[in-house]
């Protein structure tokens, strides 16, 4: 009887502990530059730092996450991608209208390493296994599944002129490491990072080519 019980526990343990597929970055990691006032981004953690930080989450527990936040609400500035670029190669000015409706907001970015994953649920980026709820982030990190973006710009573009729209701004970042346990067996372990935009600036440039 005892053997059967141990076997069943182990079987369930392995099922739950099977590592999740790693799916790492979202949006913000492709930004041209991110400058933090202090601390560093998850992608810049060294092996030694991981080793040190993991020691804070390695003590086993029956069920759930152990979390160690390395950087909390660190202010940052960023330069994003070129949102649009248009060149008028004709001979007359063109009244150009740029309209963008993004279904998903770029306000929130999530990133993970190791066996912590990032998934999409109801058009919203989430960490797998409900890590986000356990992080107890402040309300400013809240993003609704309905959040979307709409940008509309109308302008006259002269012949031989290129128009570019750039995005840059300010935000906050929280990152660290976490480990999830099921029946004292470590199921997932890795780094997590949450990036939130507080202010987004837009810059319009006209270049005669």
């Amino acid at each position: 009887m005892m053997k059967k019980l141990i076997f069943t526990c182990l079987l369930f343990g392995f099922l739950f502990a099977y590592p999740n597929v790693v799916s790492a970055d979202t949006g913000y990691q492709s930004y041209e530059s991110i400058t933090l006032t202090e601390g560093k981004l998850l992608e810049n953690y060294t092996k030694d730092e991981y080793k040190d930080y993991y020691s804070h989450v390695d003590s086993r527990k029956f069920l759930g996450w152990r979390i160690y936040k390395v950087n909390t609400n660190i202010k940052l500035s960023y330069i994003s991608e070129t949102l649009f670029s248009y060149y008028n190669d004709g001979y007359t000015p063109i009244e150009y209208t740029y309209k963008l409706d993004r279904k998903v907001t770029s306000k929130l970015g999530l990133s993970a390493s190791g066996t912590i994953g990032v998934d999409f649920k109801n058009d919203r980026k989430v960490f797998t296994f409900d890590l986000e709820a356990q992080l107890k982030l402040t309300a400013e990190y809240t993003v609704s599944s309905e959040d979307k973006e709409s940008i509309e710009i109308k302008l006259d573009v002269d012949p031989g002129t290129q128009v570019d729209l750039y995005i840059y701004g300010e935000g906050k970042i929280t990152n660290g490491v976490a480990a999830r346990y099921v029946f004292w067996i470590r199921a997932n372990r890795g780094g997590f990072e949450v990036f939130i935009v507080t202010t987004q600036y837009q810059r319009l440039e006209k270049v005669r080519i």
């Binding site: 609704s144 959040d147 202010t199 837009q202």
Partner: protein
């Protein structure tokens, strides 16, 4: 008889429990917030104005364009009045304010095309819903600039802005206009009707210094008056998008109870 008494007692106890729970249930008052803003536009055909409102209830009729019967804008004594058809309502983002969760909705309105300047210094939005509910909300200030022809005197190459350093209020402090060559002397610059701003020119960049005022400001046209009487307008441009407006706006917030 005993089982009958048992069932009656259980029913009475459960009913009493339900009544007690209902009485102690915290009723969340339906509210809408508006934040005073300087709405400044150039009068163009098919112009669009975007008015954000913040609701603490997602399914309130104010979030549904089908619920609107009539909408118009005026000053306090309604001596100035203007109608703008509601074209759509878009969901913005979530914010928290005084321990409440508020959903930002953007009312997309069609600006009228006027062949003269129009100014409402104290702007109110009046809404009549199909359920006959009526609301009036203070929005800030409204300016519509008319200019028949804009002359491309300044060959501007870059346009962006910034808030005041270390201040988080969603209000532009400076606008930067980069240019290649300046052939005419600038007399003055405005960002709305009678809204002149100071400016400095240094190293192919004009910096507009926007004075402090009790309004949010993120999207304005720039009207440049030259010494030779030519006029150039740089159309409306959304310089910044903020995601923490309520947290930083304090006294600019107006709170209204809803039906």
């Amino acid at each position: 008889m005993k089982s009958f008494l048992f069932y009656v007692t259980v029913i009475i106890l459960v009913s009493a429990l339900v009544i007690i729970i209902k009485q102690n249930e915290v009723m969340i008052e339906k509210r809408v917030l508006t934040v005073a803003q300087y709405y400044s536009y150039r009068s163009v055909e098919e112009g669009r104005m975007e008015v954000p409102i913040y609701l603490n209830e997602e399914k309130h009729p104010l979030s549904n364009p089908e619920s609107y019967l009539n909408i118009y804008f005026s000053n306090l004594d309604e001596s100035k009045k203007i109608e703008m058809p509601l074209k759509d309502i878009q969901y913005g983002h979530v914010e928290t304010y005084l321990n409440g969760i508020y959903h930002q909705y953007l009312l997309m309105l069609e600006l009228p095309y006027l062949d003269h300047d129009f100014l409402i210094e104290d702007l109110y939005m009046h809404i009549e819903l199909i359920n006959m509910d009526q609301y009036s909300f203070y929005l800030g200030s409204f300016s519509l600039v008319y200019l028949a022809d804009s002359e491309d005197v300044l060959d501007w190459t870059g346009l962006n802005g910034s808030k005041e350093e270390h201040h988080f209020l969603s209000r532009l402090k400076e606008i930067y206009i980069d240019y290649e060559t300046m052939v005419e002397e600038i007399d003055r610059i405005e960002i709305g009707v009678n809204m002149e701003v100071l400016f400095t020119i240094q190293g192919n960049r004009i910096t507009l210094d926007i004075p402090v005022a009790d309004y949010l400001l993120n999207d304005v046209p720039i009207i440049i008056y030259y010494a030779n009487h030519q006029i150039q307008i740089i159309d409306n441009f959304r310089y910044l998008v903020d995601y923490q407006i309520l947290k930083e706006s304090g006294p600019l917030i107006n709170l209204y109870a809803l039906n």
